[in-house]
């Protein structure tokens, strides 16, 4: 049976006006993708990075891995002293940096210092310090102070100062203004405001940031020796220079273990604090 409806004279429905907005054009995405591809292509030209080179380097890497294992366990006797020095450097560097960061963070906080003529320049200087990588700072301090752990400590202090001060001043700006307003209302001066209104609110954050920076500094301190700033990093050059890869492997394993243990302890402490 044929459908009646098909033959019935139908009035063509009027095309309803488009209520839905048009989907956004894809052209922007394509252009972004093309730009990214161009960027990657240019970068690989600039760095001479080709697939061929990777394939050619692959056997070398396998050889290297083969020579690294098994690690020379007995080398531990030579390096544990240097590892202790690394931990010392990170500890002192973080502590000094944390002390120095307190006034800097206070000067950056817009809710404590009302004058923009103070906060903006201090923030600018802080950002400037933060652009310099730790190894570079260490290279500078080695040029000034000579070889040894002392330039490493200075470099880590400056680096920690930048990191802790930034994190702390951002936390400072987010504190509850209630207590501060109450204290201002009863006539507290800036020093009292900071001691009784700000410090109790920020203490736990500050401790947590300091521990976090300590974790980062342990990793940084382990490589500072490459530029002569003390710690275990110096032994990488010694062992790699003499092609003693099994010893290098021992250094790496030892560093990994120490970093993991300290990370674990620090994370536990931070969980308790916050």
């Amino acid at each position: 049976m044929k459908m009646e409806l098909d033959t019935a004279p139908f009035e063509q429905p009027v095309q309803p006006p488009l209520l839905r907005p048009k989907p956004p054009g894809k052209l922007k995405h394509y252009l972004t993708a093309a730009f990214l591809l161009l960027l990657v292509w240019g970068s690989s030209l600039q760095t001479d990075a080709t697939f061929k080179e990777l394939v050619e380097g692959l056997p070398n890497m396998l050889d290297l891995l083969r020579e690294m294992f098994p690690p020379r366990w007995s080398y531990l006797d030579n390096i544990w002293q240097a590892m202790l020095e690394t931990i010392r450097m990170a500890l002192i560097g973080t502590t000094l940096g944390a002390f120095l960061a307190v006034p800097v963070a206070l000067l950056c906080a817009g809710n404590l210092i009302k004058s923009r003529w103070i906060t903006y320049p201090v923030r600018f200087l802080l950002n400037l310090v933060r652009t310099i990588p730790d190894l570079l700072l260490a290279a500078f301090f080695v040029a000034i102070l000579g070889l040894g752990p002392l330039p490493g400590i200075f470099a880590l202090s400056v680096f920690s100062l930048g990191l802790i001060a930034k994190l702390t001043y951002e936390a400072l700006e987010a504190i509850d203004p209630g207590p501060l307003e109450a204290m201002t209302a009863v006539g507290a001066n800036l020093a009292q405001l900071i001691v009784y209104g700000v410090v109790p609110q920020i203490r736990a954050h500050f401790a947590s940031f300091t521990l976090y920076t300590f974790e980062i500094n342990i990793r940084a301190a382990a490589v500072l020796g490459l530029v002569g700033a003390g710690g275990i990093g110096h032994y990488y050059e010694v062992t790699l220079g003499f092609f003693e890869y099994d010893k290098t492997c021992m250094i790496i394993i030892f560093t990994l273990v120490v970093v993991l243990v300290i990370d674990y302890l620090s994370t536990k402490l931070r969980e308790k604090w916050i």
């Binding site: 970068s43 080179e53 070398n60 010392r88 002192i92 950002n127 500078f140 790699l240 890869y245």
Partner: protein, 267 residues
């Protein structure tokens, strides 16, 4: 009537554990400070510092562009290229790792746990050491730096990506599974659209970090601006150190600004 508030509100007790922690901290600090030789400062320290500051304020502008080879602009371009390529490589490598380590994408705890452990192992391996090993494998140059950054960044990016994947809304994935989608289709149409903005934002963030790392890779011979910098430092050419440092600071500030405003748009 003279009841002081001090009687009403009990003073918090000082716990012994706290005292013990303070004592322990004191011992640790005494140990740390005792082991550092504070006497070994060179007498020339003041002089060198002065020389560095005069060098920083009178940079060697001629070094910005030299027609015949190693100059500031080419060094910075090299550094930028190393960090771009390293970031792109790691972003590609870490996507499978992220899904491996995400707890809601695998059926057993063992699978995601092993992925997380592997990622944290990669993360604690310093990139400088990785670069040292890659230099031994592929020879000194930018390529070793690219490989080191590409491999090291997988640790952090993989972790952040997997956390992003763990936070997705399960509604769309369940709907697609109910409609009979395969696993791949589910990832393509339900997971990917949710995680893509987060992924891109993390990639940009990691790019900022990689740019800082790339400036120091040259110190050990893995390409970029670090090589001329360390030469200038060891030959005490402070004017040149000044211009290189200035170049690094300007480049990092500009890239941070661009990347930061892009990230604000994404999230």
């Amino acid at each position: 009537m003279s009841k002081s508030w001090n009687d009403v509100i009990p003073q918090p007790k000082k716990s012994r554990l706290r005292l013990l922690i303070y004592a322990l901290l004191a011992v640790v600090y005494i140990w740390a400070f005792a082991g550092i030789p504070f006497s070994g400062i060179k007498e020339t320290a003041g002089q060198v510092t002065k020389a560095i500051f005069t060098g920083l304020f009178s940079p060697d502008w001629d070094f910005v562009y030299l027609p015949g080879g190693e100059d500031l602009l080419r060094g910075l371009l090299d550094t930028l290229a190393i960090s771009i390529l390293g970031t792109v490589i790691s972003a590609l490598i870490c996507i499978p790792f992220a899904f491996w380590a995400a707890a809601n994408m695998s059926r057993t705890v063992f699978a995601s746990g092993s992925g997380k452990t592997l990622l944290s192992l990669i993360r604690v391996f310093p990139e400088i050491v990785m670069a040292l090993l890659f230099i031994k494998a592929v020879g000194p140059g930018s390529f070793a730096g690219v490989l080191a950054l590409g491999l090291h960044s997988v640790g952090m990016l993989g972790k952040l990506f997997s956390e992003e994947v763990e936070q997705i809304d399960t509604g769309p994935t369940e709907a697609l599974i109910a409609a009979g989608a395969t696993r791949l289709q589910m990832v393509r149409f339900a997971v990917l659209p949710q995680v893509l903005p987060g992924f891109l934002s993390y990639i940009l963030y990691r790019f900022e970090i990689n740019l800082r790392s790339a400036t120091i890779l040259g110190v050990i011979g893995a390409g970029g601006i670090g090589t001329p910098l360390i030469f200038a430092l060891s030959s005490r050419n402070w004017d040149r150190v000044g211009i290189i440092l200035l170049g690094i600071i300007v480049m990092i500030t500009v890239v941070d600004f661009i990347s930061g405003s892009l990230r604000k748009k994404l999230v």
